[in-house]
Subunit: 329 residues, 2 copies
Amino acid sequence: MANIQEVAKKAGVSVATVSRVFNNSNTVAKKTRLKVEQAINELNYEPSVLGRNLRNSESRLLLVLIPSISNPFYTEIINGIEDTAINLGYNILLCETDSNPHRESIYFNLIRNRLADGIISMDPSVNKIKLVELASQYPIVQCSEFDEDANISYVTINNELAAYHAVKHLIKIGQKKIALINYDEKYLFARERRRGYVKAMKEFDLTIDPDWVYNTEDLDFEDGKRAMRVLLDLPESKRPTAVFAVSDILAIGALKEINISGLQVPRDVALVGFDKIAFSNMTHPTLTTVSQPMYKMGCLSANMIINKIKGKQVESIILDHELVIREST
Amino acid sequence: MANIQEVAKKAGVSVATVSRVFNNSNTVAKKTRLKVEQAINELNYEPSVLGRNLRNSESRLLLVLIPSISNPFYTEIINGIEDTAINLGYNILLCETDSNPHRESIYFNLIRNRLADGIISMDPSVNKIKLVELASQYPIVQCSEFDEDANISYVTINNELAAYHAVKHLIKIGQKKIALINYDEKYLFARERRRGYVKAMKEFDLTIDPDWVYNTEDLDFEDGKRAMRVLLDLPESKRPTAVFAVSDILAIGALKEINISGLQVPRDVALVGFDKIAFSNMTHPTLTTVSQPMYKMGCLSANMIINKIKGKQVESIILDHELVIREST
DNA sequence: ATGAAAGCGCTAACAG
DNA sequence: CTGTTAGCGCTTTCAT
């Protein structure tokens, strides 16, 4: 593959001029430009990003940290990030941490090694201390999950309010015994969503049986199943007739367990999920769920990180959610 | 952030020695090495990949082309690719083409620009002509989908045999009226899977009603639903009692449509999918499906492309599949 | 409007 | 065992 020198030689100009042509500098005479363009075409020349990057000490690569690529919640966000990034001349390096600190540190080093210009972190189990430390030297934004006191700008939704709306919907359709399948409360969004649940229950004078709140270890299908099993095994008088799960996958696990028990949704148990992943519409019955504007979140995070890279001031953003009522309630 | 010069100065050695320490050259005296290591630690130095890459004209980045990140079929493969790549000192650039030629060409340019050292293509709708052209200049391997006469090495399974096994299983459990929900036959795997279907039917002297073969436009849930609707709307005498769908998502769509019609799986219609995506185990009933060794496919593709980058000779690989019998049959 | 040349950070060949 | 130096491919000042 030809390099800039060969193009320059072929066109009978200096490498500087070739560079100027490629960077649309308007200080190149039309005639010269034509000559150069012809040489570029003949040699099928493409500039090496490596050379340019080294010179400009930028890579135009963005690191996107997610816990797991198989979690469909992230796919729409990533679409948004990718579309925006490409438009602005950046590419993304998708990094799956598996919530594994070793992997995380490999990825963190990528920015130290200047292979990436900035990080969009969506990993709730990220090492906050390291993240904050890194953020003091490199451009970082958080998407969806964030650290309250980290002083790193973020894009997210109001989780407490969203959970409140979901539970209020269950109450409005006549439910009183409402359980919460929540994630480990070491995560901020889990704490916030519980607050929303409690708030709605309190507002309508419904008492919460402590057995109705189940915290899962992971966000997997199996965790949802297990949680629902525990809830269904409660004595008749205490058994909940509605469930709010803080993620669609948990809700789908719960749905499965309800079906296995020969019960029906929503007749015997009403069910609300969270995230509006594609599969929430494929179950039978389809899942009522809280929709986050995932694509938009992605676009905004990408914009935010690129602005930060360019040294602009950025502000955190809290977006609106939406309750999508479907067959499960 | 410190660079190699500052470390050299601080340690009182030349940059070459610092480089040697970092690359574990064993021609460095213990005492010198210690001095350098101390300087590295004090300055918190990390070498710039950019400089190294430019010098070695390699980026240690791998391009992975997939049509859509939201298709769970690819997630396990990507896990395999990523684990292997990281182990061998490479990172991956996940590229979603959306089957969009414009995006594809952006990604193809990444390798022309030397931002990537090789490509793993998993996109069935890739522009074959461009791919072949590129493969003559750069390291490329294909995973899962491949071009028969492209002479680009690949990792895949025997699709015809896998489909044959799936249909044979349906026949063995007494099914005779077996429909095929297939993808557009411009794709090789779709043609191969139909051949397997036909072969099994022929072997057991079952005639195939032309109305039983439905080719979808896309591989989405909605396509599966639509296909199943058409099949269910056939006159009573022709209506199939079993369906083989060439992808789990299509099968899940079919399942949904069957449920909507008030019919039951497997009592009224038996159902087999393909891919063993995570969600195939979350439906009610769970889906019988053909399992591809996706993780392994990923590992092997990564190994293959890295070997190719290093100039080694590589051989295409055909892996075994497995029929996973669950509740839907 | 164009060219010469420095330099981004690193590695490797060569010399000592 | 260590230092000197050229150069990877590009952009960008500074001259002209």
